[in-house]
Subunit: 338 residues, 2 copies
């Protein structure tokens, strides 16, 4: 079969790779319906994370079950399934606590930009839809498997409540999905921090009531202006840089909450600053599995349409161009069709 392989920064190739095979009785194999490129895939693509040897890429997927291992009874061949970038048995103590992305048997997906994908922990990871959804829903369901689930987690971790004020730091696909989540969870005011006109437009379409283009101290000052000088109840940090974390912590009111969902790169939080801010901080890889049934329902009923974050669609074999367009900010997020 064929799939995407990164060889070095800037060098992603679509080439022949090992066929996806059942390796454990808890595995399933799916035929990819659609997959995509993630903002976090750009870290190695840009050399911000090392690529020591060539390896497959991709952790987002929806597809058709091809084959299941002997212990997998929850799904069966032919079904359309949605999963998560973090697989989970959905049975261990951490899963039962709702933190499936800290499952004791967790394996992160990493080979999804391919024609077929092996899904470890299939029993706990995959959720089948009722019948095969129309193709128009595939992008939304694909978003649920990562960016929409992560945006939801940002809003959940930041304790967005009905009537509250939320700030979203980051206008990538996760940040835009975080706007959807804040709106669905009832935030009355949603301030999206974005400097890019097409993203500002999508943020507004998703429910943002205000846009702040400024960053750093000016950005914080604008947020304070918009929040009676106090700061926001909830801040959703969807980037992962030290600058974004500073922005987030400085934008929350005393007693407010920051949910941080961008994998932190060289971020350190000063204990005394956090202390005197009274801000609550929680982050991590999104426990997408917890939200899957609800988010699938919201997509299939048309209540939300996170699939709109895909503003470029390419055949899977043009995956390299998909990376390039996102790296050059010509695309928010690239959908790939096998």
């Amino acid at each position: 079969m064929r799939g995407a392989v990164i060889h070095a920064p800037g060098d992603v190739r679509f080439e022949t790779v090992d066929d996806a095979k059942i390796l454990k009785p808890t595995d399933a194999i799916i035929r990819t319906a659609v997959t995509c490129v993630c903002g976090s895939d750009l870290w190695p693509y840009r050399g911000a994370e090392p690529t020591e040897q060539a390896h497959p890429m991709g952790h987002e997927y929806v597809g058709f079950v091809e084959e299941v291992g002997a212990e997998v009874t929850a799904v069966e061949p032919g079904q359309f399934v949605v999963g998560s970038f973090a697989t989970s048995d959905n049975a261990c103590a951490n899963c039962r606590n709702g933190f499936q992305s800290s499952c004791l048997n967790r394996e992160f997906m990493s080979t999804c930009q391919a024609e077929y994908v092996r899904i470890p922990n299939a029993q706990g990871t995959l959720v089948a839809t009722d019948g095969v959804p129309g193709e128009e829903y595939w992008p939304g369901l694909l978003a649920v498997s990562d960016v929409m689930g992560t945006g939801w987690w940002a809003a959940d971790a930041a304790e967005v409540r009905p009537g509250s004020t939320a700030v979203v730091v980051g206008d990538g696909a996760v940040g835009l999905c975080a706007v959807i989540a804040a709106k669905e969870l009832g935030a009355e005011r949603i301030i999206a921090m974005s400097r890019h006109e097409p993203r500002q437009r999508l943020a507004r379409e998703f429910g943002a009531t205000d846009i702040v283009a400024e960053r750093g101290e000016e950005g914080v000052a604008r947020i304070k202006e918009l929040t009676n000088g106090i700061g926001a109840d909830s801040v959703l940090e969807c980037v992962g840089t030290a600058q974004a974390m500073r922005q987030a912590l400085s934008s929350a009111r005393p007693g407010g909450d920051v949910g941080f969902v961008g994998v932190p790169h060289e971020v350190a939080v000063d204990g005394q600053e956090l202390f005197f801010s009274h801000v609550g901080l929680r982050g991590g890889p999104a426990p997408v599995r917890r939200y899957l049934p609800d988010l699938i329902e919201r997509v299939l009923t048309g209540r939300i349409d996170p699939g709109k974050v895909f503003d470029l669609t390419l055949p899977l074999e043009q995956v390299a161009e998909g990376y390039k367009a996102m790296d050059e900010r010509r695309a928010i997020k690239t959908l790939l069709k096998p």
Copy 2:
């Protein structure tokens, strides 16, 4: 009048100081009923915080109202009052959000180891009891003004819930009060980390179900052993050192919560570690005012007796010995009687 003044590390003197006077119409003056020495007073006493010039000490108090400023109507001369180490107008946005220790008009108390004390923001800060409580309740009410309020905040910030497992890091007066709080909030298992036999005994009396004497990696291993390998739901960090914070973050389960209430000294939290731990983190100076009515009630009905943390009582004029005994760990906490 006379009060405690620190001149240099290890050098606290009881001497003549300026009389407490109404400076603003929002002030009140109280005659000190009892006051005490705080664990945080030991930071400058030990030279861990600089003492650039001699200054008064003390931030814990209960007493009798002597005089009120023109704008103070909530309390009147003769009443017995309990307050907080952080004064608040109890009216601004942060106060209304329940974070009175981030009041926009906050002034921290700093002159309470004295015969009389000026209380800024008296209207919002002081809570009068019904009549004058018997002297046997004064230590408990004094504890409420700081260590018990802070222990409660630790449990609140760490989201202690009925049936949960809580770990308390630190066996000072705040840590011991945090055990009381965890029990009152319904924790089923309360693990106190303590190496000192008299403190272990008091922790058990307050509700600890397990004692862990180990620290560092061994301490974390013991906590994991006691929590099915997962970690605790809630960890109450009541010290403020980097070691204690590491202990706390490593003892919480994925998705658990750390409440940190010791003022952090040289503590930095690594963003990526916090991210992958899934642990929620919130701290700060305790919003004691939020809890005052409830905690006063619990003390006066005999439901809790945080006054037991005072294991040394001295006349106020012997305040220097009070510091010394705590510094040398001969006392958990020193009560001072004018």
